[in-house]
């Protein structure tokens, strides 16, 4: 994760927000609910609270706009940029803006919430059957007043459940008419209008008068988008007009004719050939909940993350069952600390539904709020092989390549739960199984057998003579011997036979180095040993570090904690642990995941 330069953050925890205006794409209640859930994403893992206010200046002012909307950072029409937000601070700082040239949905297509009728405001059910015909949009059939309606179950014929769809004939948003419907025709600036219009405005929003004369009464409201409203094109927000004529042919549904990209479009007048008015038909749209949760992350002080699964990754992708990534949790807890309440609700809510469904969510907000990591990684060079030190010798025991067979360990204390451990002295992979060492005990986890955590086993039984607390261990991939490190001493085990302890200065590691935090096997015969902010490359065969070392860890392993407690190779990726968390790095030195040791690696419940 990244924070903004200077770690900009709010100086109080009880934040307020205000929604200045609403998108015509969604019912106001749906938008309010999405914003509420988006804030809850963050309040669930921090001490922050969010309160909506309806007047005055809030910490976070939220608005919809398009193109240049007053802040000097214009949006770009449909698609592309979706929204932006400013880091914490006074004035425009902290505010979040959403591009209203997008189609805002809950990410999976139009959500048409009904009003009135007999379905209690339920969403339309598309398709639905009316008088034996199937419909996938709101219709005016069966009515004489022109009000669009839909069934809220699969069959109106069977269930008779219905409601009215968004329409300017039913209500308006905002303005100064308390939601009154449009009155058609109305007069504006001496001209008569019988549809909503954008005339007189520079922001593209469609409006109407709510009396017969705007010129006289100055009463107006904004038109809600119909379910057939188009995006883009040259008549944003206008509904499709069916049937329409295109190149002399009549069309009663959206079509991709005339286009090479396959996108569906429609005319917004009855004749494209004469009027040239058109737009794209509704697609899945963008989830206002997901985008808002991301933007509010900025409003709280988080910059973009390079972790693709993180909410703060800059690109949009729809996920149905949203869950905050540990990278996001770490970022926000770095700024504001942990959620103090132990019995907090989980945010594992569905991104696609307006009502949150809280589910148990064991990964939420645990951990100790680690220190920030280094800045975003910059390209580094692959460590180059260096010639080994001349005159290095090998001992006979180091040539041994056949380890003694080891007997299967027997758990000495099955009741001792690895998941109850705060951290581990050492984590390393031995014989394909991850081993977690702590205070004379160890547990194993096999990714192959899916048998879960095994143990606790006694270190003394398996590797007699080792101290109870070891700092690092690794298995030589060639000889299968296991190297253990504790303080400035190390042991080499072949089965249960040990050589050692010997001082790590014998390996060529100077007195300035403290404990060895971990090891990464680098191909055959080479192992990187980490200590402090440096690492050495060990030639395992000659048991001597190569020339040119130590090197600064940050030069190559950029973006991982430099004070990692454990460093190990697992499933061909580098893992650096600190506190409850691990940073996973690809062989190309990109941090591709930050997660919990217990929940993601140990699979603790």
């Amino acid at each position: 994760f990244l924070t903004f330069e200077g770690d900009l953050k709010w100086d109080h925890m009880d934040l307020t927000y205000r929604v200045i205006n609403y998108s015509p794409d969604l019912d106001r209640a749906v938008i309010d609910d999405a914003f509420k859930r988006a804030f809850k994403v963050w309040s669930d893992v921090t001490p922050l609270t969010f309160t909506q206010i309806y007047s005055g200046e809030a910490d976070i002012m939220i608005m919809f706009g398009s193109r240049e909307h007053g802040d000097g950072y214009p949006f770009d029409g449909k698609d592309g940029l979706l929204a932006h937000a400013f880091p914490p601070g006074q004035g425009i700082q902290g505010d979040a803006h959403f591009d209203d040239d997008e189609l805002w949905t809950l990410g999976a297509g139009l959500v048409v919430k009904t009003r009135h009728g007999n379905a209690g405001g339920a969403d339309c059910h598309f398709p639905f059957v009316f008088e034996g015909r199937s419909y996938s949009r709101c219709i005016t059939e069966g009515r004489t007043d022109g009000l669009p309606w839909c069934a809220t179950t699969a069959s109106y014929d069977r269930d008779k459940k219905y409601g009215f769809c968004p329409s300017e004939l039913l209500y308006t948003n905002g303005g100064n008419s308390d939601g009154s419907p449009c009155v058609f025709p109305f007069v504006f600036d001496g001209t008569s209008y019988d549809t909503c219009t954008t005339d007189g405005r520079s922001d593209g929003y469609r409006w109407c008068a709510t009396t017969a004369s705007f010129d006289r009464d100055k009463k107006y409201g904004f038109c809600p988008n119909r379910d057939t409203a188009v995006t883009g094109g040259n008549s944003q927000g206008d509904p499709c007009v069916f049937p329409f004529t295109f190149l002399g042919q009549s069309y009663s549904a959206c079509t991709s004719e005339g286009r090479q990209d396959g996108k569906l479009w429609c005319a917004t007048t009855s004749n494209y050939d004469t009027d040239k008015k058109w737009g794209f038909c509704p697609d899945r749209g963008y989830s206002i909940f997901l985008v808002a949760a991301h933007e509010f992350g900025h409003s709280l002080g988080l910059d973009h993350s390079s972790v693709r699964e993180a909410l703060m990754y800059p690109m949009y992708s729809y996920v149905q069952d949203f869950q905050l990534d540990p990278d996001d949790v770490q970022g926000i807890q770095y700024l504001y600390g942990e959620q103090p309440r132990r019995s907090r609700a989980c945010w594992g809510s569905r991104g696609a539904g307006p009502a949150p469904s809280l589910t148990p969510c064991p990964r939420s907000g645990r951990g100790s709020g680690p220190e920030p990591t280094a800045p975003a990684p910059v390209p580094t060079e692959e460590p180059q092989p260096m010639p080994t030190e001349a005159g290095s010798t090998s001992t006979t025991e180091e040539e041994e390549e056949t380890p003694e067979p080891t007997s299967e360990p027997v758990p000495v204390d099955p009741s001792r739960d690895a998941c109850a451990e705060k951290d581990f002295d050492t984590i390393t992979e031995i014989n394909g199984e991850l081993h977690f060492f702590k205070d004379g005990k160890y547990w194993t986890l096999s990714s192959l057998w899916k048998s879960g955590i095994q143990g606790a086993f006694s270190m003394a039984d398996s590797w007699p003579g080792l101290p109870a607390v070891i700092d690092a261990a690794f298995q030589d991939v060639l000889t299968k011997r296991i190297f253990f490190f504790a303080g400035r001493q190390f042991w080499v085990f072949s089965g249960k036979s040990a050589l050692g302890p010997r001082g790590i200065e014998k390996l060529g590691i100077g007195k300035g180095a403290g404990r060895i935090a971990g090891a990464l096997q680098r191909g055959r015969g080479k192992v990187l040993l980490f200590s402090g902010e440096s690492y050495w490359r060990l030639d395992v065969k000659v048991q001597r570090v190569d020339k040119g070392y130590p090197r600064a860890t940050d030069d190559v392993f950029t973006g991982v904690p430099l004070d990692a407690r454990n460093v190990f190779l697992y499933q061909d990726k580098y893992h650096f642990c600190r506190g409850s968390f691990y940073w996973r790095m690809t062989p190309r030195y990109q941090v591709d995941r930050v997660g919990y040791v217990k929940y993601d690696i140990l699979q603790c419940p």
Binding site: G233, H298, H304, Y316, A376, P379
Partner: protein, 88 residues
């Protein structure tokens, strides 16, 4: 039961491609577009696109090829947040 009719070959008709008003259509290739953008910003054709691409690829967790490869183009075309990844 449904009639078991033989499928008939689709009547292919010439596809008319229309330039829709209000739609931005670029005739430039991806590389030309990127270079034109860089030139417009720097006033110079001597721009190190590869270096900039690597930096962006690293920032976005992509493979660092320094090329306008498929993954990079996909990321560039993806809908995204308008907060800049790198200041200035």
């Amino acid at each position: 039961s449904p009639l078991q009719s033989q499928p008939s070959p689709l009547q292919s008709k010439p596809q008319a491609v229309v330039t829709f008003p209000g739609e931005l259509v670029s005739m430039l290739s991806d590389l030309e577009l990127a270079e034109a953008e860089a030139e417009a910003r720097t006033g110079s054709k001597q721009v190190a696109l590869g270096k900039a691409l690597r930096r962006m690829q690293k920032q976005l967790g992509l493979e660092e090829t320094g090329q306008l490869d498929a993954g990079t183009l996909e990321a560039m075309r993806a809908p995204r947040c308008g907060v800049p990844d790198v200041g200035t």
